[in-house]
């Protein structure tokens, strides 16, 4: 393999990995105060991409305005999901895993509606304004500026999320609920408010992932499940709850996928990917940067 080819594949892998990481981080956001993995979040990413096509390409709205509408709409959808698919489990105080089915059901409903509305054709969504998909050559390196923007956006968002959790009262309250739900309640914190807030935020974050992923991956209704699985792998590899770990995990997955795409056939590609994930989890069950639970009460 030529150096140029290798570097191009790596760049592609990093950008792809950054998108996987965003899906994983979206899962983390919703998981933190709830201990619920929102399995519908892959479809939120898909909706971000498809509505991105609808608003930006079909309607022709400016990028910023279209994206804002999209984030709000999918954020609200996340909040709605929390009310109908997750909150009832908490209210019943049944610490079972009913959410596994109910969030999956919610995702199936979304994808079926989306299939009816959008049909299966892949659609083009424009890149972030000011960035482009044209390839730039820099010595042996080739990339496009949208790829750079995606990676920069993920890194910036992680700084933002970590700042929120560490330095705002609401963020600290979410950390408190994550650590000890009853303890938080005894301090006057209502976990149900934070649960809903986290689903709204997780939904909006996934929508953003969708709209910036679409120029690279093309928007299609089959995007959701694939990204949910990759996002989940990124999160598991990096460590649940660790945003930086999830980013590293995503990049590892993206690069393995990218490199193996020219060395291996499709079937072997998935095999190698899963083998790496399983191997890492075998050695570090809580992921590369995950912390073992501090205590169980």
């Amino acid at each position: 393999m030529l150096l140029e080819d290798f570097l191009a594949l790596m760049v592609n892998g990093v950008a792809l990995g950054a998108i996987y990481a965003m899906v994983g981080i979206g899962l983390n956001i919703a998981y933190k105060p709830t201990n619920v993995f929102n399995l519908a979040q892959g479809e939120f990413v898909m909706l971000g991409a498809m509505l991105g096509w609808l608003l930006l390409t079909y309607v022709g709205m400016p990028w910023v305005a279209g994206t804002l509408i999209l984030l709000v709409a999918i954020g609200i959808l996340g909040g709605f999901e929390e009310r109908v698919a997750v909150a009832p489990h908490f209210r019943a105080d049944s610490h079972h895993h009913g959410w596994l089915i109910s969030t999956l059901a919610f995702s199936i409903i979304i994808i079926n509606i989306a299939d009816q509305v959008f049909r299966a054709d892949p659609r083009f969504v424009p890149p972030i304004p000011g960035f482009s998909l044209d390839t730039i050559f820099m010595g042996p390196l080739s990339f496009n500026t949208h790829q750079v923007a995606v990676v920069a956006l993920v890194v910036a968002s992680i700084f933002g999320i970590e700042y929120f959790y560490r330095h705002t009262l609401t963020g600290k309250a979410i950390s408190a609920v994550a650590e000890d739900r009853d303890g938080a309640r005894l301090n006057g914190i209502n976990p149900l408010h934070l649960t809903m807030l986290s689903f709204v935020a997780g939904g909006a974050y996934c929508a953003l992932a969708g709209i910036i992923a679409a120029p690279l991956l093309l928007a299609s209704t089959s995007l959701g499940l694939m990204l949910l699985v990759k996002g989940f792998m990124a999160m598991a590899l990096g460590g649940v709850g660790s945003q930086w770990g999830t980013l590293i995990g995503g990049i590892v997955i993206g690069c393995i996928e990218s490199i193996s795409s020219i060395l291996l056939t499709t079937g072997y590609r998935q095999l190698v990917l899963l083998a790496v994930v399983l191997l890492v989890l075998l050695i570090r069950p809580h992921g590369l940067f995950g912390k073992a639970p501090g205590r169980t009460v």
């Binding site: 600290k172 650590e179 000890d180 009853d182 309640r185 005894l186 914190i189």
Partner: protein, 245 residues
Amino acid sequence: MSRPDAILDIRDLTAGYNAVPVIRGISLCVGKGEAVALLGANGAGKSTLLRAVSGLLRATEGAVLLSGETITNLAPEKLVRKGLSHVAEGRRIFRRLSVADNLELGLARMGLSSAETARRFEEQYALFPILHEKRKDPAGALSGGQQQMLAIAQALIRRPTVLMLDEPSTGLAPILIEEVFDKMAQIRAQGVSILLVEQVVERALEFVDHAYLIQGGRLIADGPATELKDSSAIRKAYMGDVSIA
């Protein structure tokens, strides 16, 4: 059983898990500025009673009144604003957050001005100087005794009228247990009513005015601490119904 001066008035409370009652028909009173102990063997239902009072557990029968107002089955997050603080067993602080963050969360939903917030912090730092010294450290890095102080400070920063403490001395060295009781005496001197669940029975009886004994989820005796100290009821509560010649 209920008295006119009661701040916390628990009447015939029954509560448990999955409809199986753990405590049955317990009545208990804490007067203003009074310290009351709730004693009994492991599994007698002491913690269950506190959890039912603070709303973490649903009471199926009976009533709880705080300063005359019915608070039965009110959600715990609402209850703290009414002046009841519950320090749960096992030093339930937020280990990953700093000491100051833990105190801040104690005031999270009180809606205080920043000046008032600062005053409340000062109060707690005056009572627990070690917390001021370690305010930037993660709470999980504190020693057991310091964590207990933080858990108490977190409850106290809301200036509750009633403070419920669930086994604050568990797992602490004797000298630290003494320190915890010392702090509780200072808190009581400020007019806060205390309902204390303790395993260190003798020390608890020295501290409180009145004590209640429960066994198998039922109240078996109560009386002034000085009288209970020498009674056979205590032995009965802890050892079961054995007659000692």
